[in-house]
């Protein structure tokens, strides 16, 4: 008899369908401004549209025709080109929200996403910040604050300084705990302003360079210092919390393949995290989040040593670049959830009847406009041809198109290629083939490099660590052999046939019935996204 009172799985699923329909009919907001650019702004636009919410893009002068602007329902010119003049300018963004009648602001990642002062300014303007409450951000946003909270919550941490005690004291402390040490931006995230120092003599220069990068990225040049744990694997826990005290772990991602602390490949689940460790890390992350009254999406980052000990690194109080791998293995749409909880939704309703256990394996590769073969030099410039991979289990979150001129002012990431497959080996094969299909011509990209890493035995066997790329410089350098005859033949045949074929909408192969050239094909996606209207420049 008691059993009959517990709804079965099918009944829960049916209830979820009805609830989903009700939520679609009652979107959490009517119009939301996205204070970001490129792929993430476009990804948020898609999420908004799925919930029946209008999107407002903002843009700098050089971004007037960026994909995220073309894809949005409304757009506001912020003016200026540098981040400080545009995507970091509180006043301009709030004015744009006011002008367009947006009720909430989604900050994406980077820019103002981890800025508690901005979150407060949004709240003070009577709008909703789609992210954690500023009080929780204050307590977790800075590395030193987060560390203190972690200690108090019983989460293991790495020995290091609690705060910026000035260059002399930091250098003295570094010598005391011994090399190697990490110097990090106190306000940081995403590896900016962070470097490992292996010689005491290099400490002063590393601090100076870190301060400059931190100042440019976050407007705050405070640095901290701690012992480096290595070889280490980077494991992070995706959290989502609501405004009613509930926090749920959406499990781990592994982002051990990094170069200069920038993630290169990210995957879920981790090949080395079993159910028991997953539960313990999830519980630690939840304890920390609950302690500070966290809500919305966030990620607790940890280092995992070869013995299976994990150490808390920091909390990124925002949506992460690599959130798609979690979405693919848990079946949860994180942007939807962010919007629902920002509007006061309850997780126990939003996630009721959902099986959140990871299924299959997902891997993300970050496509960047940079040349790993020549020291990872970033490259701005005209992308003449863009062809992105497609097929079963392939997701491309892109912010570029054929004819887009990549500006030098912002991050070098162009797109994210994400694959999902039943198991890790298949996911690796799928990613390798999808990378083979990726075409970005006009400026250098890291696509060939990514394929070399994915095809490497170390990656295929998940024998990865955060210093892997440092110890395997040949993966970045590639082989030095010149082009083979096929490549040279291709260079001439694409000139003989490619342009003629595109210009006439046909070729001698008889299979080119699809009209339009490359540009028309690739921009069709944005045009199909929906109505598009430009507001005039935002008032200062």
């Amino acid at each position: 008899m008691r059993l009959a009172l517990i709804p079965g799985r099918r009944a829960l699923a049916a209830a979820a369908i009805v609830r989903g329909f009700a939520m679609a009919k009652n979107p959490p907001f009517r119009r939301v401004l996205i204070a970001n650019r490129g792929e993430i702004a476009l990804r948020i636009t898609r999420g908004l549209r799925e919930l029946g919410i209008e999107s407002v893009a903002v843009h700098s002068d050089v971004d007037a025709r960026c994909a995220h602007v073309l894809g949005a329902d409304h757009a506001v010119a912020l003016g200026g080109n540098t981040s400080a003049e545009s995507y970091l300018d509180f006043g301009k963004i709030l004015a744009a929200a006011k002008r367009t009648g947006a009720e909430a602001i989604h900050p994406g990642y980077g820019f103002l996403s981890e800025n508690a002062a901005f979150a407060r300014a949004v709240r003070d303007a009577g709008l909703v910040f789609v992210g954690p409450n500023p009080e929780a951000m204050d307590r977790l946003g800075g590395k030193k604050a987060a560390r203190e909270e972690a200690i108090a919550a019983g989460v293991p941490v790495i020995p290091g300084t609690e705060k910026d005690t000035g260059d002399a004291a930091l250098i003295a402390f570094g010598k005391q705990i011994g090399m190697p040490v990490m110097v990090k931006a106190s306000a940081g995230g995403g590896g900016r302003g962070m470097r490992m120092v292996e010689r005491e003599d290099d400490l002063a220069e590393a601090l100076a360079a870190g301060r400059r990068e931190a100042k440019a990225s976050f407007g705050d040049d405070r640095m901290i210092l701690e012992r480096a744990v290595f070889p280490a694997r980077h494991i992070e826990i995706q959290l989502i919390g609501d405004q009613h005290g509930h926090v749920v772990s959406l499990h781990e991602r592994e982002c051990s393949v990094q170069r200069r602390h920038q993630k290169v490949l990210e995957e879920a689940p981790s090949a080395v995290v079993g159910e028991e460790l997953r539960q313990r890390m999830g519980a630690a992350a939840i304890a920390l989040a609950k302690r500070v009254g966290y809500d919305n999406a966030g990620t607790a980052e940890f280092l995992l040593d070869p013995k299976g000990n994990f150490y808390f690194l920091e909390v990124n109080t925002r949506l992460q670049v690599e959130h798609p791998v979690t979405e693919l293995v848990t079946g949860v749409d994180l942007v939807h959830l962010q919007l629902h909880v920002a509007a006061g939704g309850k997780l126990e309703q939003l996630l009721a009847g959902r099986d959140l256990r990871p299924r299959g394996h997902a891997i993300e590769a970050r496509i960047c406009a940079e040349s790993p073969e020549t020291g990872y030099i970033p490259a701005a410039g005209l992308l003449r041809v863009v062809r992105e991979a497609e097929g079963p289990g392939v997701r491309v979150d892109s912010g570029v198109y054929s004819g887009w001129e990549v500006p030098p002012y912002y991050d070098s990431m162009l797109a994210k290629l994400v694959v999902h497959a039943p198991d890790r080996a298949t996911a690796c094969a799928r990613l390798s083939q999808a990378l083979r299909d990726m075409v970005y011509l006009g400026i250098p990209t890291n696509v060939d490099f990514l394929k070399r890493v994915v095809d490497d035995d170390a990656f295929r066997t998940a024998a990865i660590s955060t210093d892997m790329l440092k110890h395997r410089p040949e993966l970045a350098a590639g082989d030095k052999a010149g082009p083979d005859d096929h490549a040279l033949a291709a260079a001439v045949l694409t000139q003989a046939l490619g342009k003629a074929g595109a210009a006439t909408g046909g070729g001698n192969g008889g299979g080119a019935a699809a009209g339009g050239g490359g540009d028309a094909g690739s921009t069709a996606v944005w045009q199909a996204l929906g109505g598009f209207r430009l507001f005039e420049g935002a008032a200062r």
């Binding site: 011509l441 291709a490 595109a502």
Partner: protein, 174 residues
Amino acid sequence: MKITREFVRDGKTVAVTAEFVEGDRWRVRVGDAVHEYHAKALGDGGVRMQSVGESPERAFVAYGAPANKAYMVRADGRTWTLEAPAQKRGGGAAAGDGTVRAPMTGTVLEVACKPGDEVTAEQTLVVVSAMKMEHKLTAGVAGTVKKVAAQKGGTVDQGAELVVVEPKKAEAKS
């Protein structure tokens, strides 16, 4: 139809000629080697290529586009940037001739030398920032700074001359 292009491969100029045969077949001469391909234009600028013969190699798709005075081609999942023979090496980092050029469009963060300075080959002369990353530039040769064109805070285009170092004539003496 017949077109010829010249590229640099392993430091040598190679002439590549593609000549239409019939149907979708093209004969391509790469230097002294002769290859024949089935080549189909895909309508989006791409070309599907497959060698002609008794046991053809597997087909692949190629795309091409000009890039900064070179020609970039993506063939069989690899990217090649092919230089034309007349074209001197572009903007790259220190090439050993003492001219420091901007490797990418960006802003000058720091100028760490002035005319008349004696500098080493590995010494950082200019720090340029682009896409939120810092790059330290060296001359690649030891010598005397002749000219400093870079200005702190200024924006520079890819390939722009930043510093000119007159190489030391050490080799001449030995």
